[in-house]
């Protein structure tokens, strides 16, 4: 774990004061590595808070460019970044925020072997994508590498969040919950999404990621959190690992199907 400088002590003072973090926790964060996949309404606040908190290495991934219609929720970008690459804009933003951070940007869609390598290098993966097929790929890579991942999705006034932890025998995986072939009925493009709603979900992802990195608190493993902003209510559904799951199940036959 890296030693702390006087600058670190000043910058992270309010985190130091949290008994569950302290100096040892801050050094742990500075020595940690996180992979944030997707830099939209979830990924912007998640990457920003994780960088601000002093996570030492942040790998950010998105192939897209900023559009004017992103700016209601994608708070890492300004009007002058429209049509620029999201990863480049976000990298500038993060380094401006915290020059200590080691930020690597990946501006293309990762093929399976690159995804596998980067997931294995990360302590936690933050899933801020907007589609099921990428989540199935993240699930497979995280299961193979044993890397925990914090997943969220949102539309309109609703968000869903959970954590999958392949090294926790009780943890379901994404494939336990969603069969291959799951399709979105609706998209934010067609249905719309409220900026602070998706931002709240991204902030919860950042909190959950920090807890996992620090090894503190109760994680969201085995719980699907549903946030309904219209009712301003949180609801929790218990999830179990499915022993018959084709991705993480007990039987070798199931595991290969």
């Amino acid at each position: 774990m890296p030693a702390l400088t006087e600058k670190h002590r000043q910058r992270y003072d309010r985190q130091f004061r949290l008994g569950d973090i302290g100096e040892a926790g801050q050094r742990k964060l500075l020595g940690s590595s996180v992979l944030v996949i997707g830099l939209g309404g979830l990924g912007c606040p998640a990457a920003i808070y994780l960088t601000a908190a002093g996570v030492g290495r942040i790998v950010i991934n998105d192939f897209d460019t900023v559009e004017l219609s992103n700016l209601t929720r994608q708070i890492g970008y300004g009007t002058e970044q429209v049509r620029q690459s999201k990863v480049d804009s976000m990298r500038d933003h993060l380094l401006h925020l915290n020059p200590d951070a080691n930020v690597e940007s990946v501006g293309h869609v990762m093929e399976a072997d690159e995804l596998q390598r980067r997931v294995a290098e990360a302590d936690v993966v933050v899933d801020c994508t907007d589609n099921f097929s990428t989540r199935f790929a993240i699930n497979a890579a995280c299961l193979a590498a044993g890397t925990p991942w914090v997943s969220a999705a949102a539309i309109r006034f609703e968000a869903q969040l959970t954590t999958y932890h392949p090294r926790d025998a009780q943890s379901p995986c994404y494939r336990c919950l969603y069969p291959e072939g799951t399709e979105a009925a609706e998209s934010c493009l067609a249905e719309g999404v409220l900026g602070p709603l998706v931002g709240t979900a991204g902030c919860v992802q950042a909190i959950e990621t920090l807890k996992l990195l620090l090894g503190i608190g109760r994680s969201l493993v085995g719980r699907l959190l549903l946030f309904d902003a219209m009712q301003m209510s949180w609801h929790e559904i218990r999830l179990k690992r499915d022993p018959g799951c084709p991705a993480c199940g007990d039987s070798p036959q199931a595991a290969t199907s």
Partner: protein
């Protein structure tokens, strides 16, 4: 017997209050539920009676296996949750 709950993101479209309903299988219990709330059926099931591809039905925390006929068994106090899988980010 099962307590059937539809999560918030289904309810704006169709009325589907939480109800406790007898039944040995998901098909039994949901069949009765949809008699009480006919509009909910088409939101969850397609015209063949199979679960739509964006819907998830959990029985005691695990998704049902038989998405075509919903033959998964219910215990005496099973909790059935019906929700829509979201993907946006």
């Amino acid at each position: 017997m099962a307590r059937i709950t539809f999560t918030g993101n289904v309810q704006p479209h169709v009325p589907c209050p939480t109800e406790t309903i007898p039944g040995d299988s998901v098909a039994d219990a949901l069949g009765t539920y949809f008699e009480h709330h006919p509009l909910a059926r088409g939101y969850v099931l397609d015209d063949q009676g199979a679960v739509r591809r964006h819907m998830v039905i959990l029985v005691d925390g695990i998704p049902i296996r038989d998405r075509a006929r919903l033959s998964d068994a219910l215990a005496r106090d099973s909790e059935v949750f019906v929700f829509q899988a979201l993907s946006g980010g």
